[in-house]
Symmetry: C2
Subunit: 453 residues, 2 copies
């Protein structure tokens, strides 16, 4: 692994500290029994016996979502038909569901709308940010991002830069602060890295960017629902996030978009959000030929919203109401960190000498809600992939992410305290040890493409 | 009604021709009994006793779609979890479902993908068309469209023109041919008008535009599934269309997009489709930082596809397989025209003297699959709205579209031969006559916003 990438995927060698507690299954079972959050698992429909460590890619099915899907299809669509746009509140769903996500990200309810995909929403806010920069700070012609950002963010940024005559500069994460020069219009970052789980300090980086005269766009795909986020606390400018990861909204669930009111309310830049579909119009049913953007966040809507998917995501959010009753996002975060600590300590306790390394930062303030491992085997360059397959065969679902140039492959394990317990982590690492200690991973040759992040 | 708009909404006065057959309910019942398409209705779950004439706004629930929704949620998501991206074929759904729409629009299966909304897809193809025009025909800086096009098309066109430094020219439909001057880069039209149901001659207009050096983008929202469309026969350039109208894909179903291979295959314009999300990348799971567009239609994909909605639309398309067995789109069109003729003739037979006019062209070649009426009452300027409400209260669902400046309001009735019969039309007009002949429409004051087109 080259020096250049070391700030991103520093795969720590395993190390058993004398101070580290030795974990046993009975300890883990005792912690589960004492866990005030353990009842949240009942909100989910999970296959019996499966340990699901991929909720950072696709959250599992909430029971309420299954019921809601049947209701929206059979009752609202089937029986209500076109009348349900009013009678079932379909028109207001992008705002209403957005309002339920708002408290998870430190936003006001009227500031979040749910619509389209994360990539499309990123196109909207990045275009808006560059339009604002062009109006307020002419001469700033760069978008700054992280080389290891999730690729779709970089692809969208490249396109938006192409359109605006700007350039995208991609740097290592430890070079971000030093790269906030006078040409930077927008800093585009993902809060929690999809591969390593490393988390940026949103408040500090936003403050540094603002001090340097740049706007900040945050992608919250891997943090919303897993990590407390405070957009207003950081005075961030724009944010987007994903509905199908830690929010459990179902495959391809619509995404959300947030803009600070100082931007959303700007009337002097009518085209700042270029996807000017009718749902973003000030009066969509006046059917006038000229576009006039709605005030506030509605201007970030475009076409007809995906009603069935919105209803499913809406129901999936019920579990976060239940979270409020057991300590809220702070309690969820506390358990997430405890599960992550346990995972990493168990890997060190059980798997030392088996070729593993830990790619996720150990410090609580520097990581999200996943544990990423590396594996080195001189005879098998694709060992990480094979190990993930062998683990799936043993009922532990994580996923594989290929390394970039000079970077190791990743075994990725999502930590979702909504439905995972301490004993689940114990069993997962135990099975990982069994896979590594036998030849079965070398035989895991059945093809499976990488899963969707 | 002013001369300027007369080409758009020419509300014909009712006229009983001596040659016109007098229709009776028993005739209509006999036609239903002899109708080879009448069994198609069994594919739908429709409320008992309701006559649904709004399938041009939101198609009703196909039985197969309800079953598929439960399957994709409970089995594929709930049990399969992340594995379903491969095991249930989720990755290939945009292409696979697109391939099923292709024969309805005269396209090859690999030329259609389903993703995002109609508005977002229109942004993609219009951006691509202008990028192609800029490369091939510099100096062409106009987009030409119809003033009465569906507003979201005009809004998107205004934004794309703003970005590209072009101008949008909106003309009356009868002025299109004469407006194809040397500055026109792209002609953007909706095949069937959402208000009047008037249909353009796709082949003739496309040929005229090409002869004038312009590309043509067709919005097929109100034709796909109702009117045979032949994009290759017309040698069209780009098309988009809606999943939730005549395709019955459910509220907010994803839309489709088509590009002629001569455009989709262009490698010299990597940014022509600006929504460059990871699903449009040549190798989405290589996770490389630089965008390289996929070859062919995959470059029109953007973010993670909406799996649940795609599955529902996929199942909804099953009915078109059944249509193949009873004569295909030609038979569907024949029945659509027969139902539309019957509707208009019954209005003339039953409702003369009650203030109605017919806004839909009578000629078969000039109309889609709806009947639009006007109503004039000197004492009630919003009579059309009230009449639609009173009809809904009597179990006949059509919808209302407010007129633009100088245009009359519209009572809009979608004709969908998949589940409508001749007796349905008879009863609908009979109830319309009853509503108009009584005071009940004047009392229909309960609020209901216009439905989504």
């Amino acid at each position: 692994m080259g020096r250049k990438n070391s700030a991103v995927v520093l795969s720590h060698p395993l190390h058993i500290s004398p101070a580290m507690p030795m974990h046993t299954l009975s300890d883990c079972l005792a912690r589960d029994a004492a866990d005030p959050l353990c009842g949240l698992r009942d909100h989910f429909s999970l296959p019996e016996g499966l340990i699901y460590l991929d909720g950072n890619s696709l959250g599992p099915l909430p029971r309420a979502a299954a019921a809601r899907a049947a209701q929206v299809v059979q009752q609202e669509w089937g029986h209500g038909l076109i009348r349900s746009w009013n009678d079932a509140g379909w028109f207001a769903m992008p705002q209403r569901v957005g309002g339920r996500i708002a408290p998870l990200i430190g936003a006001q309810p009227h500031e979040v709308v749910v619509t389209d995909s994360t990539s499309v929403n990123l196109f909207k806010v990045l275009s808006a940010a560059l339009a604002i920069a062009a109006a307020d700070s002419p001469g700033r012609t760069m978008v700054l991002s992280e080389r290891h950002n999730f690729p779709t963010d970089l692809y969208i940024a490249q396109s938006v830069c192409h359109t605006h005559g700007c350039a995208l500069e991609m740097v290592e994460p430890d070079a971000i602060a030093a790269s906030l020069h006078a040409k930077v219009a927008v800093l585009l970052l993902t809060h929690v890295n999809y591969r390593t789980g490393a988390m940026h300090d949103m408040a500090a980086i936003t403050a540094a960017a603002h001090a340097a005269g740049a706007l900040v766009v945050w992608d919250l795909a891997h943090s919303t629902g897993a990590v407390p986020v405070d957009l207003h606390g950081a005075s961030a400018d724009f944010a987007v996030g994903c509905g199908y990861k830690f929010l459990n909204g179902g495959p391809g669930a619509p995404a959300f978009v947030w803009a600070h009111t100082r931007h959303a309310s700007r009337a002097d830049l009518p085209w700042m959000q270029p996807l000017t579909g009718w749902f973003g119009h000030a009066a969509p049913f006046a059917f006038t030929p000229d576009y006039h953007s709605a005030p506030g966040m509605a201007r970030f809507l475009c076409g007809t919203p995906p009603v069935i998917s919105l209803a499913v995501l809406d129901a999936a959010l019920d579990v976060f109401d239940a979270v409020q009753a057991v300590g809220g996002m702070a309690a969820l975060r506390e358990k997430s960190l405890a599960l992550g600590d346990l995972f990493m300590e168990l890997v060190e306790q059980q798997c030392t000498g088996l070729g593993l390394g830990i790619a996720t930062p150990r410090q609580h303030g520097r990581r999200g809600s996943q544990v990423s491992l590396t594996h080195h085997d001189s005879s098998e360059p694709h060992s990480a992939y094979a190990i993930v397959q062998a683990l799936i065969a043993r009922g532990v679902i994580g996923d594989f992410r290929a390394g970039g140039v000079g970077e190791p492959d990743i075994l990725r394990f999502g930590i979702t305290p909504l439905y995972l317990g301490y004993a689940d982590v114990w069993h997962a690492v135990e099975r990982l040890k069994q896979v590594l200690g036998s030849s079965e991973w070398r035989e895991a040759r059945f093809a499976r493409k990488a899963a969707v992040t």
